[in-house]
């Protein structure tokens, strides 16, 4: 790990200003992703700004009946909140399907959204990787790509976003609230938050350098049956091969977001019109532009079958 200086910030605006002041500075929240990557010198911040003291760790109702989740709310606390369990249970389920009890106790809402890919070549610093080292190439293309993206990928990068939480938030139409170094705030719809890789896979989100996430807001509950189904190589403590977050209404209409298939949680609103016709029709629309590799073409079938099982469960 490279040496770094360290400070604790005591207000969101001060944190955003501090990161701007120090080139190479980063925020640290739970540290469960950043420290992992710093140990491998994939991340090499010269300065860390600890945001744990910002008092952004509460959940509150919004005036329009939604829920505002502070950026520092831990994954355990969010999954266990009675409002989330009752009104947004797809989010509770997604959180509980991720990582381990220990990690969820530390992992924060903002850190989870910003966790980086688990592409094995991103982690192996001996391999070319456009995300880790722009312009160096992509070892995953033509390499071992079983876990990687089948849709929305590019000739520069076929990585997936590994978060379970973000897939549920995409299905729930969450918005991300931020503050920038100059003190201005904005909200970013989750659909626009994570970017596709294109030819700049190292630029992963809509955030500008130094922009601090302060909260994630969920709109008022939409009812329906909530299901999160994660398919992985072992029953617990493993990243998804494919996951499906769905909210299904009694008339068969609803929403579906898919994880493990793209550089961001994958949702195609137009495909949801096919919900009453079943999984095959929805998947056809969701994955219409899929470009799988030899190793991961199985994910296309897996998405359809997982969705079929989710829809059957939702019907009861």
């Amino acid at each position: 790990m490279r040496p770094f200086t360290y400070e604790r910030a005591d207000s969101p605006a001060a944190a955003a200003a501090a990161v701007q002041r120090r080139p190479g500075a980063k925020f640290i929240a739970g540290g469960t992703n950043l420290l992992d990557l710093m140990k491998l010198e994939i991340e090499t911040p010269a300065h860390l700004i600890d945001v744990n003291g910002l008092k952004l760790d509460t959940l509150e109702a919004t005036p329009d009946g939604g829920l505002r989740i502070g950026a520092l709310v831990r994954n355990t606390a969010l999954a266990a909140d009675p409002r989330v369990r009752r009104d947004y249970s797809v989010l509770s389920r997604a959180l509980l399907a991720g990582a381990s009890g220990q990690l969820r106790n530390k992992a924060t809402t903002a850190g989870n959204l910003l966790q980086r890919t688990r592409c094995p070549y991103f982690y192996d610093t001996n391999q070319p990787c456009n995300k880790r080292q722009p312009g160096s190439g992509c070892a995953a293309i033509g390499g071992y790509s079983r876990q990687l993206a089948v849709v929305g990928s590019s000739d520069a990068c076929i990585a997936t976003h590994p978060s379970d939480m973000a897939v549920a938030m995409r299905a729930l139409d969450a918005t991300v609230e931020t503050v920038r170094a100059d003190g201005t705030t904005r909200t970013i719809p989750i659909a626009e938050f994570h970017r596709l890789p294109g030819d700049t896979p190292h630029i992963e989100t809509a955030l500008v350098p130094g922009e601090l996430i302060t909260a994630v807001t969920l709109p008022k509950p939409v009812g329906g049956t909530h299901v999160y189904r994660k398919v992985r190589d072992r029953a617990s403590y493993a990243f998804a091969l494919v996951s499906v977050a769905a909210v299904v209404q009694r008339d068969g209409s609803g929403r579906v977001a898919v994880g493990g298939v793209a550089h961001r949680p994958w949702r195609v609103e137009a495909a949801e019109a096919e919900m009453p016709r079943g999984a095959k029709a929805v998947t056809a629309g969701l994955l219409a532009d899929a470009k799988p590799t030899h190793d991961n073409a199985f994910k296309l079938t897996l998405v359809e079958r997982t969705l079929a099982s989710v829809l059957a469960e939702a019907k009861g």
Partner: protein
């Protein structure tokens, strides 16, 4: 379609592939960051650009409580809580397995919650309250969970055991606090109300962050079930 050519996969590619599938189980052992010893003088680096990171270690003071005792430390900012406990406070009960959050051997209880001490910086625990396996109980005065692990043979080599025990103690508190799990059938019912026969499934799922290479899992679940029954 990109084709990976299964047959002419190189040994390196194969190893990489294997490492990828087992990303959570096969973690390399890595040397800890060179920790500056207490008292060594190291000036904070001058303001540097992102491409010219300073290579001199930075020391920082931190105070937290470990097993009821106040500890004042001056540490390299890179020091994890795990290395602070083992290398600086010589509490070697807490183990380093993977050093990457993948095995649970380093589990300790901080402010009542179990965490992986390898993925947490010591300086981030100012004012914190840390309990390690030594703080739960010592020979002659074992914590009920420690005694149950002995009674049920909840280990073989014992390397994962301190992490398993700290994790199990805090895990039972999570259940008491009503925290649901991936296998909880009804999210809106209290997990305490789970029927005893499915409680073992709850323990297995909730303990999945603690890997046991010796495979003592079934005895670990027996030990936990025993303690939970007696506490109930």
């Amino acid at each position: 379609m990109h084709h990976s050519g299964d047959l002419d996969m190189t040994r390196r590619g194969l190893l990489l592939g294997t490492a990828a599938t087992a990303a959570l189980t096969a973690a390399p052992f890595r040397a800890p960051a060179r920790a500056a010893t207490v008292g060594e003088t190291a000036m904070p680096p001058p303001a540097t650009g992102a491409d010219a990171p300073s290579l001199s270690p930075v020391l920082s003071k931190v105070t937290f409580t470990v097993n009821g005792q106040r500890r004042d430390l001056e540490l390299d900012t890179r020091t994890t809580l795990l290395d602070a406990l083992r290398e600086h406070l010589h509490l070697t009960g807490t183990k380093k397995g993977c050093d990457h959050g993948q095995c649970g051997a380093c589990t300790v209880i901080v402010d009542g919650q179990r965490i992986n001490s390898c993925l947490s910086l010591a300086v981030m625990h100012e004012g914190g309250d840390v309990t390690t396996i030594e703080g739960l109980g010592l020979p002659g005065k074992l914590h009920p969970m420690q005694a149950a692990f002995v009674e049920h043979d909840g280990y073989q080599c014992g390397y994962c055991t301190p992490g398993q025990i700290c994790s199990a103690v805090a895990m039972l508190d999570e259940i008491k606090a009503g925290v649901p799990s991936h296998v909880t059938v009804d999210l809106n019912a209290a997990p305490q109300a789970t029927p005893p026969q499915t409680m073992a499934d709850e323990y297995r799922e909730r303990m999945s962050g603690n890997i046991c290479r010796c495979g003592a899992y079934s005895n670990i679940v027996d030990a936990i079930s025993d303690v939970a029954r007696r506490e109930a």
